[in-house]
């Protein structure tokens, strides 16, 4: 969003006593006006329609959050600077199952209420056209259980504000072979595509809700031998780079009879090399650094950050504040150079 895009509408100067002294910061007045705070009158012109982040009395519209004014046609709304993720239809998000319920899963997607994933909105083993039977209802936990991570798309928003998800596409589904982290959702910039293959044999999915999944880039063929990890080490949201799941444990190979069961498997690929693991954690810390510096997270920036992070041979040292700042600085400088 560009500063100049943000219009400032007739905003009477608040009847303050002596606040002007504090207002004399080094930043320009124009930027200052772009931000409104709760209770501030946005406009007293009745032509505006009142959108999110505002409330009104008679003709006057007030802001209810601290954020930027946005104007779309006649709709006036205030977009909060920070806040919980607000789901919108079509958003590509990452979520975690919190509850298995009657024909539905509840999924934590970081918004104010848990989203719902209906049994009918997932691809089940046995092909797309398969009918859902009662036995499917009974074995819902075999597909997805509490704590499982998945990526999905927001299908609709119910009128009570609860989001409904679906995973009826090959790119959606359960997540494996990687590591989860979350950043504030406002740092993720919406774009057409949210999953990228990064250098170093690592893929990333940037959920619009601020949940991010980093994993080993997989081959497109799914007909690989599946393995059972006897320790059944599940990767969780640990951001600790020293935590490398399942390393060196004994693996028993077993052929999965039905290939599509694979998409609900809990087992990690045993062939994740140590270098890939280290790359994943490096990306993890790069993204954390970007989030620390309040930088919007894009593919480009991640790659730039990755390159910048090569200065730190030890991945673990990147969690230092100084290191994070220097990575951010590098990214910003790099961007400036490119213009």
């Amino acid at each position: 969003m560009n500063v100049s895009d943000v219009i400032s509408i007739t905003r009477p100067t608040p009847a303050t006593i002596d606040s002007d002294v504090d207002m004399s910061d080094d930043e320009s007045t124009q930027v200052k006006l772009s931000i409104v705070t709760p209770g501030e009158m946005v406009t007293d012109d009745p032509v505006w329609m009142k959108g999110h982040g505002t409330y009104f009395l008679e003709d006057k519209t007030y802001s209810s959050v601290a954020g930027n004014i946005s104007r779309v046609n006649r709709l006036l709304s205030v977009i909060p600077l920070k806040g919980r993720y607000q789901p919108e239809t079509g958003d590509h998000i990452i979520g975690r199952i919190t509850e298995v319920g009657n024909k539905r899963w509840k999924v934590d997607i970081g918004c104010k209420q848990d989203a719902i994933l209906m049994l009918g909105s997932v691809n089940l083993p046995g092909g797309v056209l398969r009918r859902k039977s009662e036995s499917d209802e009974l074995q819902m936990r075999n597909f997805l259980k509490e704590g499982d991570l998945l990526n999905a798309e927001v299908q609709t928003i119910f009128n009570n504000g609860i989001a409904s998800l679906h995973t009826r596409s090959l790119k959606y589904g359960k997540l494996r072979n990687g590591i989860f982290l979350r950043v504030p959702s406002n740092l993720i910039v919406k774009s057409k595509n949210h999953s990228y293959d990064l250098p170093g044999n690592v893929s990333v999915i940037l959920g619009i809700n601020g949940y991010i999944w980093l994993s080993k880039t997989t081959n497109s063929s799914h007909n690989k031998n599946m393995t059972v990890n006897s320790n059944a080490n599940k990767i969780n949201a640990s951001g600790d780079p020293s935590y490398v799941p399942g390393a060196g444990s004994v693996a028993i190979t077993r052929l999965e009879e039905e290939s599509s069961w694979e998409i609900y498997s809990d087992k990690n690929d045993p062939n994740i090399t140590n270098s890939v693991r280290s790359n994943i954690t490096r990306y993890n810390n790069v993204i954390k650094a970007l989030a620390y510096g309040d930088l919007g997270i894009t593919e480009q920036r991640i790659i730039m950050g990755y390159e910048a992070s090569m200065a730190f041979s030890n991945v673990g040292s990147m969690i230092d504040k100084d290191a994070m700042e220097s990575i951010c600085q590098d990214v910003i400088n790099n961007e400036k150079m490119r213009g």
Binding site: M1, N2, V3, P14, A15, T16, I17, D18, S19, D22, M23, D25, E27, V31, K32, S34, I35, T37, P38, G39, G53, Y55, Y62, S64, V65, A66, G67, N68, P80, L81, K82, G83, R84, K112, Q113, D114, N160, G161, N186, V189, G293, D294, L295, G296, T298, R301, I332, E335
Partner: protein, 194 residues
Amino acid sequence: MVQGPMEPSLRSQANTTEATIEVNVNVANFSTFERKKRTRTEKRIVELKATLEKTFEQSVMCNLYPRTVIQVDIHVLAQDGGLLAGMTNAMTLALIDAGIAMYDYVSSVSAGLHDQTPLLDLNSLEENDMSAITIGVVGKSEKLALLMLEDKMPLDQLESVLAIAIAGSHRIQDLMDTELRRQGNIRASKMTQS
């Protein structure tokens, strides 16, 4: 003084029409000069908690968040007077920072009366010595959302103390506002640099 609450987290469940505001007050043992064990169930703390919950129920637009809980954790790390005022201001800022819709700021300040002179924002020595009133003002109005006076004060002096306290609250609000804008601008500028 008061360390801002940990980020308020919204959780599903609870009231069907409005959000429930849940405040947890945690007063650190080392927050005062003498180290004293304080429990969450202490009457004074329960009172503060209830006061904050009821105050903010009015100024947060709870109807926008049905079936949710807004949980606010307040950790008091050090106290030197104006405990309630500090908690109120910190909570206002934290709620705004979390992007929760509010009608207006709630700004709060304590004021006391020394002899005939009204004083603003007392420290704990002053608080022990004279009667203090804590008020919470909504926005830039003269409307009091919160009011707490625990010691004697001549009725006829009330008006003058209130006047200075309200002015003080407005000033606090300006400070909060300025800081919010500063933070917001920094963030906005970073976001737009791409």
